[in-house]
Every structure is written in structure tokens, then in C-alpha cells.
């Protein structure tokens, strides 16, 4: 779905933000790109859909090479949700906003209508609202509905939960996770919230100063304290607790697993007595 082949990127007359990066994301994966601020996450997400072009190497997405394909063509397959919905929203009603992307991408009018109404329904939005007067959480939902309405194959989320409270955040993430599960939508989520990553992502790319430090299943990466600390990150709370407890807790990852293990231990003891 998305592949970086020896990609480097640098702004004019500065050391490279990305020295040499290669990775591949398959269709249907939910991948988190984790790293602290300044690790190059935004650059990578913008390289992924052709907003930026690599200084050297190649990025292919949905079968397109970003160097030789127009951004508008890529936009039909790759959606991008920005951190701040206010940068995207520019239409007077929610309905116009949701249909805007499809309109500029040249979808047939009837299809636009049908998909817009479907997206409004899915995201519980009222098409007649003025997007500017809605709350931040609702604006983020409007922005999401708008980028997903055209049924892209890959969606890039750029720190999607900044400025949202936990309730709004889970509402949005649950929608995305559902699309990933049920429709095989591929997700690349740029994020530094390890709890969120643990809850949703199946695989994590750990990034520091434009270099990939680690790439693996979330469960495995979450247990690698050394790797995460190199990227100035920490494991989520329960994996971290398991690490602190040491031997015997290597396989514990969630609240339920921790409780189950402790119950088993208690049961064993009682059995011995």
C-alpha cells in the first residue's frame, strides 16, 4: 500500500531531516508512527501522499510513484487528516465541506450526493450545520468525514487527537478502527500517545531524528523500554508495570491479562496451602 525505498529528505541548505528511510505498509494494516516532536513524523506523513517529494529515493503509495503522479490523483486513494481541522474546513455547510474533496477530485455528481449523505450518517453529522460554529471535537469529526467520504484506501492521521478530550478522541478513533476492521482501510497514524497506540495500532514504527529505530508488532515494541527511551518515549502504563515487575510478567500487556495472571498466582498459592 505504502512503501518508502531509501528515501531522504532535506530542506534547502540544512542537514537532512530524513537521512535514509525504508519501510513498507501492507493493505489493511493499522500502523502507528511514534516519535517525539522533531523526530520527522510530519515530514514522513507529507512524503507519503506527495505533499512533499523525496530528495532521493522513492515513495510509492497505492501503486503510484509520488514523483510522477499528481497530488490530486493520489488524493483519491490517500486521505490525510490534519491535526487541526480548522486548516481544512473552508465551506459554509457541513454538507458542502464533506462533499468538497470528492468534487475537486471529479467524482460524478450522483456519487458525490450518495457518498456525502452516507458519510453524514456514519459520523452522525447534520449536513445543514455551519462547521465554524461547532465544537473542536465535532469539527475534527467533520474533517474526518470529509476525507473519508471518497472511500480512500489509506488514511494518514497526523496526531489526530491533539486538542480533543478523551471522549471525542475515542469517538474518532473507534470510527477509524471500525473502518480498518470491516473495510480493510489501511491506517498510518502519527502519534506520541503510547496509550492510544497500545489501544489501536497493530504495528509501530519508532522514529528518532528521521531514522527508524524499531519496527514491529505493538505488543513487542511496547516491551522494549530501551528502544522507546532512545526515541524519548515510554511504554504505556500496563506494559511498563509488567516490565517493572520483571520475571513472570513478560507476556502481560493489558489490564485483563494482568488481572488474570494475578488471579492464577493467587489460585496456585491457595491450592498449595
Amino acid at each position: 500500500m505504502l512503501e518508502f525505498k531509501h528515501v531522504s529528505y532535506h530542506y534547502p541548505a540544512t542537514p537532512p531531516v530524513i537521512p535514509d528511510l525504508s519501510f513498507k505498509i501492507e493493505k489493511g494494516e493499522f500502523v502507528a508512527l511514534a516519535g517525539s516532536n522533531g523526530a520527522g513524523k510530519s515530514t514522513i506523513s507529507r512524503l507519503s501522499n506527495g505533499l512533499l517529494l523525496p530528495s532521493s529515493g522513492e515513495v510509492t503509495v497505492g501503486g503510484f510513484n509520488t514523483k510522477t503522479t499528481r497530488a490530486s490523483q493520489i488524493a483519491r486513494k490517500v486521505a490525510f487528516l490534519f491535526q487541526n481541522p480548522d486548516r481544512q474546513i473552508c465551506q459554509n455547510t457541513v454538507r458542502e465541506e464533506v462533499s468538497f474533496g470528492m468534487r475537486v477530485q471529479g467524482f460524478p455528481e450522483e456519487e458525490i450526493k450518495a457518498r456525502t449523505e452516507a458519510a453524514l450518517e456514519t459520523f452522525s453529522l447534520n449536513g445543514d450545520w455551519s462547521p465554524f460554529t461547532r465544537s473542536r471535537g465535532e469539527r475534527q469529526r467533520i474533517a474526518l468525514a470529509s476525507v473519508l467520504a471518497g472511500k480512500p484506501e489509506l488514511v494518514i492521521l497526523d496526531e489526530p487527537t491533539t486538542g480533543l478530550d478523551y471522549k471525542e478522541c475515542t469517538a474518532i478513533m473507534d470510527h477509524i478502527a471500525k473502518l480498518n476492521r470491516e473495510e480493510g482501510l489501511t491506517i498510518l497514524m502519527v502519534c506520541h500517545d503510547m496509550e492510544l497506540i497500545q489501544s489501536y495500532a497493530g504495528r509501530v514504527l519508532v522514529l528518532n531524528r528521521g531514522t527508524l529505530l524499531g519496527d514491529g508488532p505493538t505488543r513487542q515494541i511496547m516491551k522494549d523500554r530501551e528502544l522507546l527511551s532512545k526515541a524519548r518515549l515510554r511504554p504505556a502504563q500496563i506494559p511498563n508495570l509488567a516490565l517493572r515487575l520483571g520475571a513472570g510478567f513478560e507476556d502481560v500487556y493489558t489490564v485483563d491479562e494482568m488481572a488474570a495472571l494475578l488471579q492464577k498466582r493467587a489460585g496456585h498459592k491457595e491450592g498449595e496451602e
Binding site: 507529507r46 505533499l51 490530486s72 490525510f80 465554524f132
Partner: protein, 252 residues
């Protein structure tokens, strides 16, 4: 854009009082405009580049000169066809297109534009806007309110630029193509972007105003500033030199 950005340094030029720098830039420009001598104006451009080089800004001065020459060339062409004095130079079918007087005055005008603008633009490279405004308030008692508006405007330029780029990116990611050559279409595409830009700008300006207000903006007087901007011998010398330059260019 970054041709107007402040470049920190500790050269002779950097260390001059901000007011001296401002005055010097204007005086130098005035000398170029007063002069009717093509060679002197050309020499002043070259001299300005050399002066800039002493502050490590030679490269920037050259680039600025190049950009200003484009503007100059435009004015050259307009002036060339509008001034009709002296002998005819280019005649086709009995119609006089260009005259010698037109050529000289066009050349002079375009070089003057370059020579007079160059020092003003280099001023921003060696002066922090906040220092310039601070000195104007402290020494010339310019009302702080105006100085604050100017510094804020300058400070917001890069903020707005990056905001605009982000907004444009968000739309490009949805498939809007801004690289069209059709100017009408381009306007149609860019116009809606001003809605989010305006919304976010107003929000930022209001937040800035609140932050200034609660930190006692309204209590400020011209004497509040902590930074001192003393005049030194070098400042006097610079002004004397520039006045001399004006005299020279008026005479030549």
C-alpha cells in the same frame, strides 16, 4: 521572504544604534536619488554591496540587487517609451519609438530605484525590528502603541505564512490543484482558503491582545523599556559620512 529576515551578527554595522541605521539607510537612499550621475549611482550600488559584505551580508546584498534589478528593468521599459526628449534612436515607419533622452532617463530611474531600495532592505538584515521600535520609542518618543503594532505585524508574517502553507497542504491533500496556469481558476481555488486563514488569524490576534493586556500593556510609557539604546562615536561618524555623501552626490 527570508531576504528581509534579521541575521544576527556583531559587525560594525550590527553594532550601530538602530536609529542611526534607519537614518543612514534613508540618507544613502536620498544620495542615490539626488544624484543625476549614472556612474555615481552605479558606484553607490557597488559600494553598498561592499559595505554589506563587511557585515557578512555580501551574498544577500547580491541577491537583493538581482531581484531589485528585475523591478528596475520593468521601470526601465516603461520609462523608455514614455520619455521623448533628445535625438530619436529607434524609428520604424516614421514613428519614433525610443529617444536618447528616454534611454538616459530610463537607465537613471531604474538604477536609482535599485540603489535607493537596497540599503532600506539591508536595514532589516542588520536590525531586529523590536530593537528598531524600542529605540524609536525610547529616543524619539514614538508612541509605544504604534511600535507594538509594527513589531507584531512583522512577527505575525512568518506565523501567517506557515499557517497558509498548512491550509494549502490540507486542501492539496484533498486533491485541490493550485499549480494551474489559469489565473481565474487559481483565484477561484485560493479564495476559499482565506476563510480558515482569517478565522485562525483573528483568533491568534485576539489571544495576543489578551496576553498583552493582562501583562500591563496599557500601563506602558516611552520610558518603560529596559533595553538602552545609547549613541556612540561611531553613530556620529556614520551620520557625518552620509551627509558628506549627499553633498557629493548633489554636486556631481
Amino acid at each position: 521572504m527570508n531576504l528581509l529576515q534579521y541575521q544576527p551578527g556583531n559587525s560594525f554595522l550590527h553594532r550601530l544604534n538602530p536609529i542611526t541605521k534607519l537614518a543612514a539607510a534613508f540618507l544613502y537612499g536620498a544620495a542615490c536619488i539626488i544624484s543625476g550621475n549614472l556612474f555615481l549611482v552605479t558606484a553607490l550600488i557597488i559600494l553598498m554591496i561592499l559595505i554589506a559584505a563587511t557585515a557578512g551580508l555580501g551574498g544577500r546584498a547580491l541577491r537583493l540587487t538581482r531581484n531589485l534589478l528585475i523591478l528596475g528593468a520593468l521601470m526601465f521599459i516603461i520609462q523608455l517609451f514614455f520619455v521623448r526628449s533628445g535625438d530619436p534612436l529607434l524609428v520604424t515607419g516614421g514613428f519614433v519609438w525610443v529617444t536618447t533622452g528616454g534611454l538616459v532617463s530610463a537607465l537613471l530611474l531604474s538604477l536609482r530605484v535599485v540603489a535607493a531600495m537596497l540599503p532600506l532592505m539591508l536595514l532589516f538584515a542588520i536590525t531586529e525590528i523590536s530593537d528598531l521600535c524600542g529605540a524609536l520609542v525610547k529616543k524619539l518618543h514614538v508612541p509605544y502603541r504604534y511600535a507594538f503594532i509594527v513589531t507584531t505585524a512583522f512577527r505575525f508574517v512568518p506565523l501567517f505564512t506557515s499557517e497558509f502553507h498548512d491550509i494549502e497542504d490540507a486542501q492539496r491533500a484533498r486533491g485541490v490543484e493550485y499549480d494551474t496556469r489559469n489565473i481565474v481558476k487559481k483565484v477561484q481555488l485560493v479564495a476559499p482558503l482565506f476563510v480558515p486563514l482569517l478565522t485562525s488569524s483573528l483568533r491568534k490576534v485576539d489571544a495576543g491582545a489578551i496576553s498583552a493586556e493582562v501583562r500591563g500593556f496599557n500601563l506602558r510609557t516611552y520610558n518603560s523599556g529596559y533595553q538602552q539604546y545609547p549613541f556612540h562615536l561611531a553613530d556620529g561618524a556614520a551620520v557625518v559620512l552620509l551627509v558628506a555623501l549627499i553633498v557629493v552626490s548633489a554636486v556631481l
